[in-house]
């Protein structure tokens, strides 16, 4: 029996004329929502991981800056630390900080502006990352 023996142009024409049944109108929409919903947790965890890493990095940098700023502004509170040993290691970095902080100390308004801007920048970054993660979740 070859393919030709089962070919039937009449039946084919008849079937093609008959109306095909359609799935529900929102079938594609529903299916695509299911696919997109299933993909969110994966994307979200990647985003969340990235956001947390970013926040931890910013916090670490803030702490280091705050530490040096504290030593520079209030040396009387850090007498218990053997600054001589630390200074050998961090002297090159400290000189940069000292230059910056001595300038800031000399100009109180500059320190207010610089710290305010830095604080706002960090706060903005943290809030936008947290808000973005929340939006992804909803």
């Amino acid at each position: 029996m070859n393919q030709q023996t089962v070919r039937d142009p009449f039946l084919q024409k008849l079937m093609q004329q008959s109306t095909m049944e359609e799935p529900s109108d929102d079938f594609t929409l529903k299916l695509m929502s299911m696919i997109q919903l299933a993909e969110i947790p994966e994307k979200e965890s990647v985003k969340k991981g990235f956001a947390m890493k970013y926040i931890y990095g910013l916090l670490a940098i803030t702490l280091v800056i705050a530490f040096f700023a504290a030593i520079s502004f209030f040396p009387q509170y850090f007498t218990f630390i053997n600054t001589a040993n630390i200074l050998v290691f961090i002297k090159p970095y400290l000189s940069i900080f000292n230059t910056i902080f001595s300038f800031i100390k000399a100009q109180p308004i500059v320190s207010i502006v610089v710290f305010s801007l830095a604080g706002l920048f960090i706060l903005d970054k943290i809030l936008s990352l947290l808000f973005h993660s929340k939006m992804q979740h909803t």
Partner: protein
């Protein structure tokens, strides 16, 4: 709506454009639904079957090597899902009528059918199709409606090519016999 070649949509999906899959769904959902409907004989079940099939296809796209047509691969999954569905539901399948149909007169039937309005033709063809066993009905739909080749139908159903041909031959005869019966009833009603 004019659709592009499946390979273009597949390429877009692989490049991260998930929405391109919606185009593939729209392109194939009607035929997939009709194949599933021929087997399940229930709209809700057919929709569930094609929904599962489209999801399965989406998550297996990375494994699709393109050796066969995308539609053949999709219909194979639809066919298998629909068959499992009816097996799970333990629907008593209609007996395959193995008897050779005598007085097989296509000419007379085609002449009588041509007198009917297209809506009636559709009604009768659907009735005749519904009298076939579920698998055979899907095979007839794929072969005559979707114009799949014997090789493609064989790949979709997992039956040998000779088995597909035998099933098509028997189904065709059975459909004509059914149509003959329906047309006789119609004439009797009119008289």
């Amino acid at each position: 709506m004019a659709y592009k070649d499946d390979s273009l949509y597949l390429e877009q999906i692989r490049n991260g454009n998930t929405n391109a899959y919606a185009m593939l769904i729209n392109k194939h959902k009607t035929m997939a639904f009709n194949v599933a409907l021929r087997i399940t004989r229930n709209r809700e079940d057919a929709e569930e079957v094609i929904q599962d099939a489209f999801l399965k296809v989406y998550y297996s796209l990375k494994d699709f090597e393109g050796k066969s047509k995308f539609s053949t691969w999709l219909y194979k999954i639809v066919y298998n899902q629909a068959i499992s569905k009816i097996r799970k539901k333990s629907i008593a399948q209609s007996d395959i009528n193995e008897e050779i149909i005598n007085n097989f007169t296509v000419g007379n039937i085609s002449r009588d059918l041509n007198y009917l309005a297209s809506e009636d033709q559709t009604k009768y063809i659907n009735l005749a199709l519904s009298k076939l066993p579920e698998e055979d009905s899907a095979i007839v739909t794929l072969f005559y409606l979707n114009e799949s080749s014997i090789e493609e139908v064989s790949e979709i159903t997992g039956l040998s090519e000779s088995n597909v041909k035998v099933k098509l031959h028997r189904s065709r005869k059975k459909m004509y016999e059914e149509l003959k019966q329906l047309l006789n009833n119609e004439v009797n009603t009119l008289l």
